[in-house]
Amino acid sequence: MTARRPEGLTASMLIGPATLVVMLSLVLPLALLARYSLNKYDRRTFMIEAFTPENYLRFVTDPFYTGVLWTTFSIAIVTTLLCLLLGFPIAYKLARSQSRWKSIGVLLIILPLFIGSTVRALGWMGVLGRGGIVDALYGALGGSGISLLYTSFAVGIGILSINLPYMILTLQSVIEGIDARLEEAADSLGADPTRRFWHVVLPLALPGIGTGGILVFILAMNAYATPFLLGGARFQMMAPMLYREFAVNNNWPFAAAIAFILMLTTLSLTAISGLLVQRRYKAQ
């Protein structure tokens, strides 16, 4: 029989394989991508080994690219806020419901998640495009044909519809965790529904609002199929642009730089909002 191994050693042996898998599948590609983003691009040979910040500088100095980043950020922020505004009442109703229809309601929220975002974007094309449902309705009311497709509105609606279920489900679970007696207590102490919301429900739901908001914001920042299909060629967001640089222009170094810029922007915004929520929650 072998002698007893020190516990630390056993633990590291157990954690080892998993750590290795994570390293290989997550950290390594990222490191590789980081390395690529510092390379040079050449029209004929594509990627040349180098160590230059010029890809990043190109992005930051060209108003077209910063514009795309700004558009992406605006769409993400607006859809996140709309998700919150639309999602909160639904989540609240679901969380506080004791009806037997509740599970059906939850199912209706989850159901769209079974369908990929590409398919749903195609659906929106049918609704918003020329000859689509909106166009036909508008025509029937006497207007001349309108197409909402290939606008920021179309992209916004598309992303909103995809992200709303995530927001609702996150908020619902948080609101369910708020004791309904607290609302009754506020009630009996003279708080009308509006003040009950601002003084009790909202502060207690804040962590959930933070989590849901971050989740939905990240999804929107990285949306690919929706802006690609509903935004068309002229409406640019980061993920489709990244793909074009990578697959169409074969400019891997620049694509890698875009990827890092997108990731760092998303991460830092997430971290900031997370801190804000935490501080507000602590202060309360």
């Binding site: 007696r181 102490l189 009308d192 309360q284």
Partner: protein, 365 residues
């Protein structure tokens, strides 16, 4: 009814579909009185409290405070201070913020809020805890914050939902006394709900015993114990033996097995009845020691529990009776199983009910 009642509940009814959670409840509570709703779980006591608080909308009935009907007002306009079983303190607010919540909702001037906060915290002895959060307090302290929060708004009526059930057993008595003292000092009309009989007995000025959505009896501790109006009250408050039998003569109750009891009173009715006898109000004698006994029986079992011996007696033919014999009288000896015994009791301890559960009064003493 007297005009002195401060809170008056008339015909209060709550239906869920066709089933009544609360049915035709009528109560009068005097200014400064503590009325305790007592009953088994599902009896409608909590629903009654929630109806008064306004968390549940009444199907029918009126809730009058100082003559004004509150039944159709939302809870935030009722000015009733509620203390919840789980305390329901706002976890994101400090003790001070919790206590002043109702005052801030009323938009009272800051100076007024500060004075009331100080007074209230002083009252519940939590002045040093003002800046703590509820999670940093013990159960007893949380309870006091909940009470302070309800008292701070100077409610018209104080509502207490099982206020002691989340406390350690050894803390309950002192908190009960404290609640009582604060309520008396403030002269508050209070309605409390509990399933615990001891708690109800300790806290109440008067008790309301409920069952299946209906009020069974309203009265003082003595009234409910000594003069139960139906078999349910007799059995629920303390313990009672409910002996079913046939009233064959004015003072004879024939039990199903054939044994006959000689009653202490004479009754005009005949036919099936239920006799309620409290175990500690029946005296036990050796057979032949007393003549004539009201009944004779056999000792089935005896458990010595200190202050008394807990006997189970069997009558001829199967009916049984629980009986407590004080150990002081017997010097602590226990009667053997199978021993024949004689029973006696006094007229005031005998309660006879008809098959519908209504009390039967004696024809003559």
């Amino acid at each position: 009814m007297s005009n002195a009642s401060h809170l008056r509940i008339e015909g209060l009814t709550k239906l869920y579909g066709a089933t009544a959670a609360v049915e035709d409840v009528n109560l009068d509570v005097a200014q400064g009185e503590m009325l305790v709703l007592l009953g088994p779980s599902g009896c409608g006591k909590t629903t009654t409290l929630r109806l008064v608080a306004g968390f549940v909308a009444a199907t029918r009935g009126r809730i009058l405070v100082e003559g004004k009907d509150y039944a159709s007002l939302p809870p935030y306009q009722r000015e009733m201070g509620m203390v919840f079983q789980s305390y329901a303190l706002f976890p994101h607010l400090t003790v001070a913020q919790n206590v002043t919540f109702g005052l801030r909702m009323r938009k009272l001037p800051k100076a007024e809020i500060d004075t009331r906060l100080e007074q209230t915290l002083d009252m519940v002895k939590l002045t040093t805890m003002a800046d703590r959060y509820p999670r940093q307090l013990s159960g007893g302290q949380q309870q006091r914050v909940a009470l302070a929060r309800a008292l701070a708004i100077r409610p018209k009526v104080l509502l207490l939902d099982e206020p002691l059930s989340n406390l350690d057993a050894n803390l309950r008595q002192s908190v009960a006394r404290e609640i009582r003292q604060l309520q008396r000092a403030a002269g508050l009309t209070a309605l409390m709900v509990t399933h615990d009989q001891n708690e109800a007995m300790t806290m109440a000025d008067r008790l309301v015993l409920m069952n299946e959505g209906r009020v069974q009896q309203v009265g003082t501790q003595e009234e409910l114990y000594e003069q139960p109006l139906n078999p349910f009250v007799a059995r629920f408050i303390g313990h009672s033996n409910l002996v079913a039998g046939d009233l064959v003569e004015a003072d004879s109750l024939r039990l199903p097995g054939g044994a006959v009891m000689k009653l202490a009173r004479r009754y005009a009715q005949r036919g099936p009845h239920v006799l309620a006898l409290r175990p500690e109000r029946v005296r036990l004698h050796g057979e032949g020691d007393v003549a004539p006994p009201r009944a004779t029986a056999t000792v089935e079992d005896g458990t010595y529990v200190g202050g008394h011996v807990d006997y189970l007696l069997a009558f001829e033919g199967g009916a049984s009776l629980a009986l407590h014999e004080p150990t002081g009288a017997t010097g602590g000896t226990r009667r053997a199983r199978g021993e024949r015994v004689a029973l006696t009791w006094d007229a005031q301890n005998e309660r006879l009910f008809d098959p519908n559960g209504a009390i039967v009064t004696a024809a003559e003493a």
